[in-house]
């Protein structure tokens, strides 16, 4: 016991590093330009060819430098050069490779050539792969190596156009899974054939390192050290958006060779785990079980804080750092925080600089005014905490299975039934009850901020809403009942069979936590006398049902890859049907009229003509009502007053490089908020002592009495 006490005392003394008792960070970090944030789930992939999730992009977008990025301040979202020195030069060619004028009709374009020139002064982060000695490791050289930091030396080299070409080849590497490989094979000239060549090469020599430099790709041409060209089939303006994703970041060939050496994988040293980029930060500490640290790339000097923004950005202070070299913070510490309660409390204590708001904490953090405007609560104001909100480029919808004989198909009966349900299911109420008002009811698949979306009466879905004072007002339930009766289900009873109408709803929402939502949904259908049969299931079974078309209604969502209407409307494109074509059209909606318009719209630039076509497409969709349009979620982010330049930007994953932190102010506030309460310790010790003395005396008395 004495030993245990001594060890505990020693540990206690050792862990008292002069900082606050509840400070989870080393005292030596005080005053440093460090941003503290959290990640809720360990990323699965950090290889830019494989990663596709938002939590992976939180890291990769800061490590890698693709040619383009989204402007941090301007709205609507706008692409600007990142690694490229200017926006790509796009030229159009006909089938005979003859140059066409820029304003030529899309159907005449056989090929589009994107010529990209990168900035000449870019360098990679320090990495051992750039030291030649580490490309020829011998037995025993890896003894004692557990992470990249264990290598004695780390070099760098300039970023070359050839590295961008190399990464495009990696998109179809047979040993990698690139989510967009299928899409890119359709567009990039020669990529499909290149993929087949690589497959054959791997099958012929499965154990050998596959050097992509040995295989040419016809659609990608390296002009010189700083220029390369990508040739794609036809016209595809959305290709520029893909160029802003890590899929198109540079990859030095040495790194693949470095990680392919024997012993690397056994040590968890892989490109999928230890990325190498030329972006503002590099991954200096990678313990996804606890924390991951990004440190400023010492060779990154190619970017400054933007000097232009929206109207009002100057007044809001968003341009105070205009022209300053990026990034503005030296290091970013991501701590694994699986539970929302510790995350929230650490934010309130000042140990995280920014936080989202869980439903549990919403009332504590936010108060909504009578006019519906959200503001931070008085308690948050007292801590100088600020709120920023933005509508996500996402849509959460309830789909009808177009192949279902009851709710699907273009018949007037089914259409009226769907419209009746669309009126009855009150998503404004859903948002208010279950999302704390964090969302806006959708009038179509297109969220605000996406080309094609209309505000005001012009954007209202007239089949479900009336426009009152420039705002949508849901039609009455009487109107829904009328539609239902016209559909042949008066009062929710099938007029032919006299049986009540039962609709099956598939969802992954299971457990007690979701019971109230599902009860609410049943009540919406009760308004019409329709019985809702909720079939809750796990994620795999749900996906399986969607794939087989074994659903009537289901709840699902979509996060945009890029801010273009095509990336939402393709979810309803017939040839993307899930059952027939394994596409992303989960409701299997099929309308020749819509499909024809989609084909015309998808490759157009954002012109009034495109707007007109989109308007026509939305009219078709609203008329057919293949979805309950649901809602577009709103993101709420709280940040402490010591954090600057926080402007909501849903598309930019690399926004942390623009943020600035006042570390002195943070330290001061942390000290003010986190002084330890010693009194409970003294009281506790005194209570134990008194109890011990009392017990001792009682025992003594008993012994003496004996």
């Amino acid at each position: 016991m004495k030993v245990l006490f001594s060890v505990s005392l020693c540990l206690l003394l050792a862990s008292c590093d002069g900082g606050l008792w509840n400070d989870p960070y080393p005292a030596g970090d005080a005053g440093k330009s460090i941003l503290y944030t959290a990640f809720l789930e360990r990323p699965k992939h950090l290889d830019p060819a494989q990663a596709y999730s938002e939590n992976e992009y939180d890291f990769l977008a800061l490590i890698y430098s693709p040619p383009l990025q989204y402007h941090y301040l301007k709205r609507p979202y706008q692409l600007v050069p990142l690694a490229a020195s200017a926006m790509p030069k796009v030229s159009y060619l006909d089938k005979r490779l003859k140059r066409l004028p820029d304003n030529v009709a899309p159907e005449r374009i056989a090929y589009s050539v994107y010529e990209i020139t990168i900035k000449p002064d870019m360098q990679y982060q320090p990495h051992p792969a750039f030291e030649l000695q580490y490309l020829r490791l011998k037995d025993g050289d890896l003894d004692g190596i557990h992470s990249l930091g264990d290598f004695a030396r780390a070099g760098t080299r300039p970023v070359l156009a050839a590295d961008y070409a190399y990464q495009i080849k990696r998109l179809v590497h047979p040993q990698l899974h690139t989510p967009i490989a299928g899409v890119m094979e359709e567009y990039i000239v020669g990529l499909k054939e290149f993929s087949a060549t690589l497959q054959a090469a791997v099958q012929a020599h499965p154990e050998e390192f596959l050097d992509l430099n040995d295989y040419p790709l016809s659609g990608v041409e390296v002009v010189d050290d700083t220029t390369y060209r990508i040739t794609i089939h036809g016209k595809y303006p959305q290709f520029a958006y893909w160029l802003a994703m890590p899929f198109f970041a540079p990859m030095p060939w040495e790194v693949e060779r470095f990680y392919a050496q024997p012993g690397m994988k056994e040590r968890n040293l892989t490109l999928d785990w230890w990325p190498i980029g030329s972006g503002p930060y590099y991954l200096s500490e990678n313990d996804p079980n606890r924390r991951m640290v990004l440190t400023r790339n010492p060779y990154y000097s190619s970017e400054q804080y933007p000097s232009e923004g929206e109207t009002g950005d100057t007044a809001s202070g968003f341009l105070d750092d205009a022209g300053t070299r990026l990034p503005l913070i030296d290091s970013i510490v991501f701590s694994l925080e699986k539970e929302t309660i510790p995350y929230w409390n650490k934010f309130l204590q000042g140990y995280y600089d920014a936080s989202g708001i869980s439903s549990d904490s919403f009332d504590q953090a936010v108060q909504v005014s009578v006019s519906g405007e959200a503001n931070v609560s008085d308690a948050m104001k007292a801590q100088d905490i600020m709120l920023s909100t933005a509508v996500a480029t996402s849509t959460m919808y309830t789909g009808f299975n177009w192949l279902d004989p009851v709710v699907g198909g273009p018949s007037e009966r089914a259409t009226r039934l769907r419209r009746a349900i669309a009126i009855a299911v009150d998503f404004e109420e859903f948002i208010s009850i279950f999302a704390n008002g964090r969302g806006i009811s959708a009038q179509s698949p297109l969220p605000p901020g996406i080309f094609g979306h209309h505000e005001g009466c012009a954007g209202v879905n007239r089949y479900v809403y009336d426009c009152v004072q420039d705002k949508p007002k849901r039609k009455s339930i009487a109107e829904a009942k009328r539609l239902l009766a016209e559909a042949g289900y008066p009062g929710g009873v099938d007029a032919k069979t006299k049986q009540p109408l039962v609709i099956h709803f598939d969802t992954t929402a299971t457990g007690l936590g979701n019971k109230s939502r599902l009860d609410w949904l049943r009540k919406q259908f009760d308004k019409l006398g329709i019985q809702l049969d909720v079939r809750s299931t796990d994620y795999n079974r749900f996906q399986d049902k969607i794939r087989r078309g074994d659903t009537q209604m289901f709840f699902i969502g979509w996060n945009a890859d890029y801010p273009d209407p095509e990336n939402f409307l393709f979810l309803l494109h017939g040839p993307q049907g899930k059952v027939k074509f394994s596409g992303e059209n989960a409701s299997n909606y099929s309308s020749p009229e819509f499909d024809r318009l989609f084909e015309r719209m998808k490759n157009m630039d954002n012109t009034p003509q495109r707007q007109q076509i989109i308007d026509d497409m939305l009219e078709v969709l609203r008329r057919d009502s293949p979805w309950l349009w649901g809602f577009h979620p709103k993101s709420y982010v709280l940040q402490h007053g010591w954090l600057h330049n926080i402007k909501s930007n849903i598309m930019a994953n690399n926004k942390l490089k623009y943020w600035r932190v006042d570390a002195e102010q943070r330290d001061k506030m942390r000290r003010e908020w986190n002084q330890p309460e010693r009194a409970p310790l003294w009281f506790g010790a005194a209570a134990v002592l008194l109890f011990g003395v009392w017990m001792w005396r009682v025992l003594r008395k008993r012994e003496q009495a004996k």
């Binding site: 245990l4 400070d23 989870p24 047979p174 994988k265 040590r267 606890r290 650490k346």
Partner: protein, 325 residues
């Protein structure tokens, strides 16, 4: 005793094969390799071709238990079960479905799990036994009754309440330790002290009541009366004689869990952000990572068998009459 131990180790082999088979069957009844692939590949733009490639790269494209297309022994060995299970018997756990070495991950995460589990176990044992002896000392008095009532109360409260309540009071209100997080070495103390205290508090009710029952049973025996007749103090009777003789039932429950300390605690590690094996297991279940799940189940089985053998050995230590043959 050596022969006994060898026999027990040999018995363990069919048990481990059975556990493996059961884990395998349960896992693949719920999930198909296609499900696993979809889980790993994400939600968007997943094609059947990508799924087939994923399965082929990880060996999930083979038959589950019997390969009727193969010849000879390959009928059994060229299957998912064999490929994924055979190597575990030499503690080669292979790679997780996201491509990381499971053996390295286990070795790395064992430390944080033990940092909490060992002090919780040792200090907890001392506290539970002391509290039980105290109740025994004051048996049939108000203090004893209050102690039992307290134990019942503590037993009735959910473990989650201790965690959230502890974090709220100790970390949020009093600012005495960090709410969550972890650091290596001596820095770990301030992170683990609260989980340890909560772990101990959570076990007081059930353990102390159980030990009290054991002590009360012992205290009525003849040798205790003899000790008292010899004039020994009540404290000495309890701590020297009763405690020693109550060790066999205590050891039965205690020694068997020692090896399982390696496996960590699912809830505590998750709430306190401790990067241990408990959170590794729960993450693997959520991600449907069969490679990790079967490795952790196998490890748990091995450790449980080790625990049982250690329990047998410990009997011979505390009771010279017991001999293993």
């Amino acid at each position: 005793m050596i022969a006994y131990l060898i026999r027990r180790i040999l018995y363990a082999i069919p048990i481990l094969i059975g556990v493996n088979l059961l884990t395998f069957a349960l896992f693949f009844v719920v999930n198909t390799p296609d499900d696993m692939a979809r889980m790993q590949l994400g939600v968007k733009r997943v094609t059947q071709e990508a799924i087939d490639k994923w399965k082929q790269q990880r060996g999930y494209d083979k038959p589950l238990l019997l390969n009727s297309a193969a010849d000879g022994a390959d009928k059994l060995t060229d299957t998912i079960f064999w490929k994924k299970s055979a190597s575990m018997f030499v503690f080669d756990f292979g790679y997780s479905d996201d491509g990381r070495s499971i053996g390295r991950e286990i070795a790395k995460r064992m430390g944080p799990s033990l940092t909490i589990a060992i002090p919780t176990f040792l200090v907890g044992l001392a506290v539970y036994i002391s509290f039980a002896l105290l109740m025994t000392l004051f048996r049939a008095t108000v203090l004893d009754m209050a102690g039992v009532a307290l134990c019942v109360l503590l037993m009735s409260i959910s473990g989650l309440f201790y965690i959230i309540g502890g974090q709220f009071v100790v970390s949020k209100l009093w600012h005495l330790v960090p709410i969550s997080g972890y650091a290596g070495g001596a820095d770990s103390f301030k992170f683990v002290v609260l989980p340890i205290l909560i772990g101990i508090a959570g076990g007081i009710g059930s353990s102390s009541r159980w030990y009290r029952t054991i002590f009360l049973e012992e205290i009525g025996k003849d040798y205790v009366r003899t000790a008292r007749a010899k004039g020994l103090s009540e404290l000495r009777v309890l701590f020297t004689h009763v405690l020693k003789n109550a060790m066999i039932p205590i050891l039965t429950g205690v020694v068997v869990v020692i090896p399982l300390l390696f496996m960590g605690s699912l809830l505590t590690e998750s709430f306190f952000g401790i990067p241990g094996l408990g959170s590794y297991t729960i993450d693997a279940i959520n991600a449907q990572d069969f490679s990790v799940v079967r490795a952790m189940v196998f490890l748990g089985s091995v450790l449980y068998i080790v625990g049982l053998i250690l329990t047998d050995i410990s009997y011979t230590v505390v009771d010279p009459r017991v001999r293993l043959q």
